[in-house]
């Protein structure tokens, strides 16, 4: 026997599974098409290096230097390898095949017969793609040049492209999943507004807001005028600071705004502010303009997300709260994941400013969706109005040791890692190492992917045997320890690994810590209940992350990026250890009593 709702859900799950398979299949076909189309283009680069070397040698011979008397081949090849890292060696031979000059990392086997390549042909030998060019003077051949290029260079670039495509396939899957859920909800539950009404609206908005993540520091860096007041490291962090500040300041009051304006109006107000901000960013020329516009984006993000949280919480019972919060986190993380990855792809092709124009279009789309999808939901609002927030609530939170420990040991450090490491240090360090915006976007999105995949698993664990405080404490500690990896060696791979580990750590924190904060707030009576704890926590965590970002920027200005990451790693790890210690102490005391 099957309930119709179960039947619907099974059908939806089956179709989403089919969609995932179709996207994976298309991804494989696209990679094959790309390889076919791009391999000749990439080979042309190798050929160009070869003909350049050939031309240089011939010109030296034209001025009368005999082939065997050429000097400085090694220095010449060393200079070339600076410009073309894939160039491995150059061998100049006479017509008998005797090597007269060698430069670069020419293997001893270069003298071997295996290295005999017919003129104007290429052959892969010992990991090098060796191409032979003739050396001609007055149309008569007097020698040959073998150019060895790393055979893996073309392959690795195509593999890199395949990785980018895998990211795009994942983004398409996340977007398809959100669309499928939204459409299904409208059809299957069309007479009853539910939790999923706001899902697509919030998702599209978050995508729009996150498109600039991979390049905002670089965008700001390019806007710095010579002779600016601030050190570039600090100036680059200003837009992120302004965003965090306004987000932190508006969030506690957004709950009251929701009560007076209603979710729909507040969401639309937030969209209007966000749209104006993105429009301004298209034309922004100075760090001051960028900072002010990002500050308004913080206001928009604050009111929209708080209105959405209220919407989700008001429609769930106390027992559903954890699930509602997990749903909210999943939408935000899914949107951030898609936005970050897409932002890198768009910026690579269209440039930074065009991405803000795309954000503007997406925010407008979200507003239209909100207008239609959450219009009836307001009338059905249930439950008490959000608790009014005041400065006393902050003091009240700070007076409660367990809530304060959660804030200082887990919530603030998590937000510091997000703002200082993920949004500031990762883009700056990777860009400084010459990585493209797409690579930066791909690295950042690994964080959101890890949270997206591990989040539901942790939520299940949370309602099981393992105590929530232990889970969030371990999550904080993991995210701190992970930062030691790029602090020790700043490569794209080490950053990717650290970002994944930070994501896994934060997956253990994100949903559970909200529910824990609500629980700790409620255990302290109605006067300092859910609304007050959440609002105060929002304010404190954002102000905390702001301070963390300021410190990180100052450390960068005083030392370098790697030192700032190391300082962050130590601080976050210590906070995690301290929180776990406090949890263990409380549990021991409770057990003793």
């Amino acid at each position: 026997m099957s309930h119709p709702r179960t039947s619907h859900n099974r059908f939806i799950a089956a179709v989403i599974g089919l969609l995932a398979a179709a996207l994976a299949l298309l991804g494989v076909l696209i990679v094959q098409d790309f390889n076919r189309a791009l391999e000749p283009e990439l080979q042309r680069r190798s050929e160009l290096i070869g003909t350049t070397v050939q031309d240089d040698v011939e010109r030296a011979l034209e001025v009368g230097i005999p082939l065997h008397a050429l000097v400085g081949t090694e220095a010449y090849v060393d200079a070339l390898t600076n410009d073309f890292p894939e160039l491995e060696f150059v061998l100049v031979r006479d017509l008998d095949g005797t090597v007269l000059h060698a430069g670069g990392n020419a293997p001893d086997a270069g003298l071997d017969e295996r290295f005999w390549v017919p003129p104007n042909e290429s052959r892969e030998i010992a990991g090098s793609l060796v191409t032979r060019y003739g050396v001609d003077i007055s149309e008569s051949r007097i020698g040959m040049i073998d150019i060895g290029v790393d055979a893996g260079s073309v392959r690795s670039r195509l593999e890199d492209l395949a990785l980018d495509l895998a990211v795009i396939v994942l983004v398409a899957l996340v977007v398809g999943y959100e669309l499928a859920l939204s459409v299904s909800t409208r059809i299957a539950r069309r007479s009853r507004p539910g939790l999923l009404d706001i899902r697509l609206v919030l998702f599209v908005f978050v995508v729009a807001e996150e498109l600039n993540k991979p390049f905002l520091p670089q965008f700001t860096l390019e806007a710095i005028e010579p002779g600016a007041v601030f050190d570039p490291a600090v100036a680059v962090s200003l837009p992120i600071m302004a965003y965090l500040l306004t987000l932190g300041l508006i969030s506690p009051f957004a709950g009251r705004l929701t009560a007076s304006l209603g979710e729909r109006r507040l969401v639309l107000l937030g969209f209007a502010i966000a749209a104006l901000s993105h429009l301004g960013m298209v034309f922004a020329e100075s760090v001051t303009q960028i900072t002010l516009l990002r500050a308004s984006s913080g206001v928009a993000y604050g009111v929209v997300t708080v209105a959405s949280v209220e919407y989700l919480i008001e429609r769930g019972s106390s027992s559903d709260r954890m699930r509602a919060m997990t749903t909210f986190v999943a939408i935000v993380i899914g949107g951030t994941f898609a936005g970050t990855a897409l932002g890198g792809v768009f910026a690579d092709r269209f440039g930074f400013r065009s991405v803000f124009a795309i954000s503007l279009v997406l925010v407008t789309t979200a507003a239209i969706l909100a207008w239609h999808l959450i219009s009836a939901a307001r009338a059905r609002r249930q439950g008490p109005a959000p608790v009014a927030f005041s400065a006393k609530d902050v003091a009240s939170v700070l007076r409660r040791p367990r809530l304060l420990a959660l804030l200082a040991g887990v919530t603030v450090p998590m937000n510091v890692v997000l703002a200082a490491f993920l949004w500031y240090l990762v883009p700056l360090t990777l860009a400084a190492a010459g990585n493209s915006t797409a690579v930066i976007g791909r690295t950042l999105m690994l964080y959101y992917l890890a949270v997206l995949v591990a989040g539901p698993l942790v939520a299940r664990l949370g309602v099981g045997r393992v105590a929530t405080p232990i889970i969030v404490g371990l999550g904080g500690l993991i995210s701190g320890l992970a930062l030691f990896i790029p602090a020790a060696e700043a490569t794209a791979l080490s950053f990717s690994l650290a970002v994944v580990l930070v994501g896994l750590g934060h997956a253990a924190i994100r949903g559970p810590q909200l529910s824990l904060a609500i629980e700790l707030g409620e255990t302290h009576g109605a006067s300092a209940g859910r609304g007050a704890s959440l609002a105060a926590m929002r304010l404190l965590e954002r102000l905390g992350s702001l301070v963390g970002l300021v410190v990180a920027a100052l450390v960068v200005a005083a030392t370098d990026l790697a030192t700032a990451i190391a300082v962050l790693a130590v601080a976050i790890s210590l906070a995690g250890v301290a929180y776990l210690g406090s949890v263990v102490r409380v549990r021991r005391r409770v057990r003793d009593e």
Partner: protein
């Protein structure tokens, strides 16, 4: 029960549409990615050519000649251009953007604003030694020419018409559209099959109890 089947039917149509839209989105993004990758590759290829010319010009500077006094400037540029016949022009310009030597369809008086802006960013912010921008139907890639003490003294820019690139992008777009159409059709068929299986489900006497 009838309404339930009708709902699943509507769901099937809606989800098939979502599937097709998602596949179309993926295809569009893939074309975008290809075109970005191709632009970068072409830019890097142009950079090699510009670099060849810049190296030759730096040798003349080392001999004590100023760039505008180099008699065979055009010969140097033509030789560099001969490495890649697709390159439509090469120019050498000073720190003010005034052209000193040019071949092919490169500007002969002053370089275009896009090229000069990119050059200034590289020189002023000391971010690498090369740049690549795409504007007004041409890819422009260049490198900085360094003086005897490593200081920037000029720029070399190579121009490449985007028509060839566009043809390559158009070819890949055609191929991807074909793949997307095949996969989309497969997906729709699979959804129809799943729908039929779900519709047959209630025929089970136990399911009728619902």
């Amino acid at each position: 029960m009838g309404e339930c089947v009708r709902d699943v039917g509507r769901l099937a149509i809606a989800l098939a549409l979502v599937g097709v839209v998602t596949i179309a989105g993926l295809t569009g993004l893939a074309v975008l990615k290809f075109s970005a990758f191709l632009a970068t590759s072409v830019g890097e290829r142009l950079e090699i050519v510009a670099n060849t010319a810049a190296t030759d010009l730096e040798s003349t500077i080392d001999l004590g000649l100023s760039l505008d006094a180099v008699a065979n400037g055009e010969v140097i540029l033509e030789r560099a251009r001969s490495h890649d016949p697709a390159i439509s022009g090469i120019a050498v310009f000073d720190l003010e953007g005034q052209v000193l030597h040019a071949v092919g369809d490169a500007p002969t008086v002053a370089v275009d604003p896009e090229t000069y802006d990119a050059f200034r960013v590289v020189v002023l912010e000391d971010v690498g030694e090369a740049w690549s921008v795409e504007a007004e139907g041409r890819v422009r890639s260049g490198v900085v020419v360094a003086g005897s003490f490593g200081q920037p003294v000029a720029g070399v820019v190579a121009y490449y018409p985007v028509t060839e690139m566009r043809a390559q992008v158009s070819a890949i777009a055609d191929a991807l559209l074909l793949d997307a159409a095949r996969v989309g059709l497969l997906l729709v068929l699979a959804i129809v099959v799943v729908y039929l299986l779900f519709r047959r489900g209630p025929a089970d006497p136990e399911s009728d109890l619902t």
